[in-house]
Every structure is written in structure tokens, then in C-alpha cells.
């Protein structure tokens, strides 16, 4: 009996160790950004392409107010309600004190400067494919934006999801640094893939999620119900989105569909971002969408 208990104890220790190992945060090497110098103008483009303001500014913000990234928007989900944190330039309430490496760890690895996992409502599962140069540029641009001292509100997430360490297991399952659309791509299609799969994080809404909230890559961009809300995210694979590339560019510019209906809900915020991109980037996204595998 004692032997059995001892074995059980060993097993428990091994399991705990395994959990500890699998769920450990994995930041970038300290020298990952060495030799990269920031370009402010490019950083602004990354800011709009990444859609930072769509979640971190007030939902109703327009114009200059969109640059106040004080957080506060609420995101209901089956796991609880997440509240967008303050990422303004305030050193205490926001991320004014962050290095470029801190930002890279947050966006590419989902790890905070204190070494904690972020919840994947922050779309690092997409940003993980972002170029480090873009993060360096973005860091420089964010430092030019206003500081706001509003403290971040806590997420309203119940047990067991409140244990951040367990997010390491989520990452082991779902954080997959690989392109979804592969094969030979034109330069425009490749640029579109970068914008749609990485920075623009289109899949975060338009790809259905499995039981633990990971994107089902086999049904990439095939749409699905809004988590914790009403309505559906539309299927934007070529099986359903039959608009011409020109129509897609127009939609990402003005929000008008070919029938001159107009974008609603969170997509209207997305269009406010894509409207800031050069037309060639919107055309690249359109070209990419035509290369996505059609899913009914």
C-alpha cells in the first residue's frame, strides 16, 4: 500500500512537472530584435493593419479619439467576458514603459512583460506570424499616441479559466506559427495573406472555434456564430463570398457592399482600419481571399 502511494506521488509529481513544462510561457530570445531600427510611418500602417484601435479605443470613437487606446470595450465569450485593457502611452495604466521586445512578446507569443500568459481574446494566435520589423515600427508609433490614465478593468472570467497558467496548454494546442493558405502565391497574394492571416487577424472572427476556443483551421474563414452574442460572422471563403476583387476593395474602403448595403457591427470598425491602408494593400487582401479554400 505504501508502495502504491509512493508511486502515485511520483506520478503526480511527474504530471505536475509535465504541466509546468507544457504550460510555461515561451518569450522570444532577448536579442530577437537586435539590429532592427524603427520606421514611424510604417509603424502607423502596421497600427491600422493590425486593427489595434478597433478593440482598444472606445467603440464609438471617431477621428482623433480613435488614437486614445484606453481600453474598456467588452468581449463576451463562453468563457467569460473579457475587457480590452489600456494600451495607451501611459507608463502606469498603459504600456508607455514597454520596450519593443515587450510588445513583440505580447503580440507574437502572448506573454506579458511579467511572464504571464495573455488570454487568446488578444489575437496573438494570428499576430504570431507578424514580422519583427513591423513590431519595432509599431512600438515607435504607439509611443507617439496620447497617454490615458484610466486603469484597465479586470476580465470577468470564472474558474478554471481564471488560472492563466492553463493558457499554456491552450497555446500548445492552438498557437501554430504557420500560414493557413500555402502553395505558390503572387507577391500581391502573399502580401494579402500577411495582412489577412497575421496583422488583420480576420480568422479570429471569421473562422469558427472549437470547444476550447481555438480556430478550426480546416474551416478557415468559413464563418460561424458570434460567441456569447447574437448573429453570425459571415463565411468569406470563395464558396460564399462571390464578390469581385474590386467589390471587396470597395467594401474595405467605404463599407459598401455591391448592393450598397453597408458594413455593420464590429466589421464597421474593421473598415475604419482598412480604409487607412494603401489601396494596394486592400487589393492584396482581395486577391488573397480568392485563394482561400472554398468551404460551404
Amino acid at each position: 500500500m505504501r508502495r502504491f502511494l509512493a508511486a502515485l506521488l511520483v506520478l503526480a509529481v511527474v504530471a505536475l512537472g509535465l504541466f509546468w513544462f507544457v504550460t510555461r510561457p515561451a518569450p522570444l530570445p532577448a536579442d530577437a530584435l537586435d539590429g532592427l531600427t524603427p520606421d514611424l510611418a510604417k509603424g502607423e500602417q502596421v497600427f491600422w493593419a493590425g486593427g489595434c484601435a478597433a478593440c482598444h479605443a472606445a467603440a464609438e470613437a471617431r477621428g482623433e479619439a480613435k488614437l486614445v487606446l484606453a481600453g474598456g470595450q467588452r468581449f463576451p465569450s463562453p468563457f467569460g467576458t473579457f475587457v480590452a485593457p489600456n494600451i495607451s502611452n501611459d507608463p502606469a495604466a498603459g504600456i508607455g514603459g514597454w520596450s519593443a521586445l515587450d510588445l513583440a512578446n505580447a503580440m507574437l507569443r502572448g506573454v506579458s512583460p511579467r511572464g504571464e500568459h495573455y488570454y487568446p481574446v488578444f489575437p496573438y494566435a494570428s499576430y504570431t506570424m507578424a514580422a519583427l520589423q513591423d513590431i519595432v515600427d509599431l512600438r515607435a508609433y504607439l509611443a507617439t499616441l496620447p497617454a490615458d490614465a484610466t486603469p484597465s478593468a479586470p476580465h470577468e472570467v470564472g474558474f478554471p479559466f481564471s488560472i492563466r497558467r492553463s493558457l499554456g496548454a491552450w497555446k500548445a494546442l492552438y498557437l501554430d506559427p504557420a500560414w493557413v493558405v500555402s502553395g505558390e502565391l503572387t507577391p500581391a497574394e502573399a502580401r494579402g495573406r500577411y495582412l489577412a492571416e497575421a496583422l488583420g487577424h480576420c480568422g479570429e472572427c471569421h473562422t469558427p472555434r472549437g470547444p476550447f476556443g481555438g480556430m478550426e483551421r480546416a474551416r478557415w474563414l468559413a464563418g460561424g456564430p458570434v460567441p456569447g452574442g447574437k448573429g453570425n460572422f459571415p463565411n468569406i471563403t470563395p464558396a460564399k463570398l462571390t464578390w469581385s476583387e474590386r467589390d471587396i476593395v470597395e467594401y474595405l474602403t467605404s463599407g459598401f457592399t455591391p448592393e450598397f448595403d453597408s458594413a455593420g457591427g464590429h466589421m464597421a470598425l474593421v473598415v475604419e482600419n482598412t480604409a487607412h491602408l494603401p489601396e494596394s494593400d486592400r487589393a492584396a487582401i482581395a486577391a488573397y481571399l480568392k485563394r482561400v479554400a472554398p468551404v460551404e
Binding site: R246, S254, A263, G264, A268, E272
Partner: protein
């Protein structure tokens, strides 16, 4: 006989209509009417947008007519088409959110923005293509201003 048959047909149609209205809740007609107005605006925007996109050659007269129609459709008093509670929960064929009627809702300001955009379009559409394009941006922002806050996320 012919009259009787016609009368029966009308009665049948009316009954079917009443049945549908019942399934859809008390606001079916209001919802249909406002969706009709939205569709009418979209048709006018189709004329203007086709020119803005360069799919149709710019024609000052046609553009002016569409802009006049748009303004008329925006100016029409549609307040009785938006009774409180006539949202998606009451009738799934509506995409309207209850937030429209919530405390502190700025639906009035958003409607004013739409009117102003339509007025600007009416002044611009017949002038030249560049003016039309600029006004189109303002109209688009006014449309999505409302849809962003008050419409289900489909689209």
C-alpha cells in the same frame, strides 16, 4: 363566379398575410416598411456608387436624380416605423438591436448625421465626379455609424 373567385383569392392572401404577421410579432409591417426604405436608399446609392467606383460613366443628370431621391428617402418621417421593441428579439427578420432604444442612445444624432450627409450629396452629385466621390465617403460613414452601433454583426 369570376368575382367570387377573385374575392376568395384576396381573402386567402389576406389570411396568409395575417398569419405571417402573427408569427412575426406585432411589428412586421413597420419592419417591412423600414427595410423597404433602406432598400430604396441602397438603390439610389447604387447609381451614385457605380459612378464613384468607375463602373458606370459619370452622368451629372442621373447622379443628381439619384441624390435627390436619396435625400427624399432620408427626409421622410419614419419615426413611426421604429417603435420600441421592434428589434431582432421580437422578429428575427429584423437586424435591429435593442440598443437603439436604450438609455443614452444617440440614435437621434446618428440620424442627423445621415440627413446632413444626404444634403451634402445632393449639393455635390451633379457638380462633378470628384465632389460625388467625396460625398460618397461621408454618406458611407453615416450609414456605418448607425450600423456599427445598432445592427446585428452579420455583414
Amino acid at each position: 363566379m369570376k368575382t367570387l373567385f377573385a374575392g376568395m383569392t384576396v381573402a386567402a392572401v389576406l389570411c396568409a398575410g395575417a398569419a405571417t404577421a402573427q408569427e412575426r410579432g406585432p411589428f412586421a409591417m413597420q419592419i417591412d416598411a423600414r427595410q423597404g426604405i433602406m432598400a430604396y436608399r441602397a438603390l439610389q446609392l447604387g447609381v451614385l456608387g457605380g459612378m464613384a467606383k468607375g463602373e458606370v460613366e459619370y452622368n451629372a443628370e442621373a447622379a443628381q436624380k439619384a441624390a435627390d431621391n436619396l435625400l427624399a428617402a432620408v427626409t421622410i418621417d419614419a419615426s413611426m416605423l421604429w417603435p420600441k421593441g421592434s428589434d431582432h428579439d421580437a422578429d428575427p427578420s429584423s437586424e435591429a438591436l435593442a440598443a437603439i432604444w436604450a438609455e443614452g442612445s444617440d440614435i437621434g444624432a446618428k440620424a442627423t448625421a445621415m440627413s446632413e450627409a444626404a444634403v451634402a450629396m445632393q449639393a455635390a452629385a451633379g457638380k462633378d465626379l470628384e465632389s460625388l466621390k467625396t460625398a460618397m465617403g461621408t454618406v458611407g460613414a453615416a450609414c456605418s455609424g448607425c450600423h456599427k452601433a445598432f445592427r446585428l454583426p452579420q455583414n
